[in-house]
Symmetry: D3
Subunit: 141 residues, 6 copies
């Protein structure tokens, strides 16, 4: 597409989680997940970067209104994840390990339809679990 621009909005949320396979005993969970398996949870300040792509509107100069994008991410993701327990409180994480990989995939699934409904495409969901641990998801094929 001519003049495709990639537009990114950063949002953040704080949440508790743990990495724990119920079918495994404590020892195996600790071997695989280390201190992330702490039974009483731990948590993160997650930094979320959602990137959409499209051509800028000839009048407004916008691919997508960043306020709309911020509200969309706020409604579909942040309001459901911020100050929550990812393993207990978040409907779209039910039955999934709350690895950063799975969180990113799940956030993509929450957002894709609404972004397309705006005439844009969802390009990527990038998630910083910490400043050292980062995942990015560009959708499945």
């Amino acid at each position: 597409m001519a003049n495709t621009v990639y537009l990114t909005r950063r949002e953040r949320f704080n949440a508790a989680h743990k990495l724990w396979v119920p079918a495994w005993d404590d020892k195996k969970n600790y071997e695989v997940f280390g201190k992330c398996s702490n039974p009483n949870w731990h948590g993160h300040n997650y930094d979320l970067f959602v990137t959409v792509k499209g051509a800028p509107d000839p009048v407004t100069g916008f691919c997508m209104d960043l306020k709309f994008l911020s509200d969309l991410v706020g409604d579909k993701v942040i309001s459901k994840m911020d100050h929550k327990n990812l393993d207990m409180d978040v409907d779209f994480m039910k039955g999934k390990m709350s690895s950063a990989e799975n969180i990113a995939i799940s956030i993509w699934e929450q957002l894709e339809e609404s972004v397309v409904a705006q005439g844009c495409r969802l390009h990527s969901v990038k998630l910083y679990e910490t400043e050292n641990n980062i995942v990015e998801y560009f959708g499945g094929e």
Copy 2:
């Protein structure tokens, strides 16, 4: 190309702008652009990341001399945008909405020819309007 490396230089500029469609009245401008339509301008510290790509020179190990790239961006972009009003002072923004999308496209157009003249290709122009609002442009087709 064998051993293509992507080389990025960050430069920054501070500028005033507003988002305002002259054909619309105040009410419509406020509805669409919110507080970005403030008639007396507002401004940003923009962070600009310019990425070029090419193979490292076998002798110097450089794709492009970063000092050259910094000077090029300084000459073609920063000297024209820093401490300026994007809507009034910048020749290559004339007649365009100063959305982050349009600024990124315009900066690309300022730089592409000079980068190619150095035997490299321009890969992307990434612009942080704030730490939450980011656009990236990879050129049109």
Copy 3:
């Protein structure tokens, strides 16, 4: 005071301004203020850190509710400065040069009374004009 804790809330605002002494001609303004004297304004993303001090409440563990502090700074400062022209739109900056120093002093004056009314003391107002230029004000004597 026993167990005084210093509590800081970061808020941000984007604004246009220029440095310009009306009694001076263009040449002198440019000599003193350089590119900050651009007649058509320029702007910044300001990072504001407001620090209050007090003893934590024995029940809540709070010196001051950070949501209250955020709302207070939002109401007294951000709502008046964000996406505004500091020299034209902000009542409490009228007649003052919008140097970072004066902005910090003025923000202090906006906040002090309300902080004291909460049983805390205002400790400092720190303002990042850019990541390189920073001022901090601890009140006058």
Copy 4:
């Protein structure tokens, strides 16, 4: 003291917590603590800055060996708080609200004696709960 230098080491930990007064009902807890009262916990990446002060040793040029300081904070604080639940797993937080204020005070108490034993003084404990919410503690009198 002649030539006092302030030396700071940053360490980080991730932890779950909630703000909850057992003597209050759900409604009052939510009124006071908002989403921080989520019963299923939430969490943060905490950034901790510990500052000691002293005169540099004439031979090594060190106030305190930063590796020693890092190990000390690791042993007394990080190993007990990282990937833990601050309200359930941390002995020195027992019976205290896990407000950022109280965490900072508790960390000070964990560290002071060992710093003094090295011939330095503990100057401050600064804790970033998020990039917007920061507390600093300089000790009680």
Copy 5:
């Protein structure tokens, strides 16, 4: 591949180096490399971002265990480069200019085989020489 996720680990190292072509005299080295040719070395805090890609494991939710990736980068790269002289101490840099471009390519070569042995692919090696100078390498063809 269905559900490919890109996983990034940041590691850091501090090192000394200089840019110097032995076949050139001092004057030519200074002309080409500027202050980077200082004969007595200079140095950097390098930030290294290693990105691998793969599908999350259905049980653990991991593409690759980040602790494994961190240990791998630690073993193959950081232990050999941190607090070293890149031009004198690092076997896999021997005979190469220590430009950021060449460092990134060399780090890729150090890591690729071990990443593939884990059933993932190495996607990119991104290196911040400073916050303004950044290279990224995606492998040769």
Copy 6:
């Protein structure tokens, strides 16, 4: 002083150094300084924050012109330390261990007289050796 404002300028430099006491053998140097004693040097990107204090000028609103402060630090410090070897190339570090503590004290000594000559006082010199290791010096008594 009425309305004292603290004004900070950030500057940066890259340099090589090592920690090494000539009177000690290799083993003792390694015991005390660890990998910082690497004989072939290592290096850092140093972030330097210089803070001066004074009352804003009633006309300009400036405590000190930040461009002047930047030029002063550039002339007295950065030009002598950037892309240098701190142990071999820097006259005012001769005969001193290049610990972060000693660097900060030496930078203070370089700057104090010139700041006072401008009618301000030097408040502090803060030096980030890495984002985890920080020293600050407020002058001796």
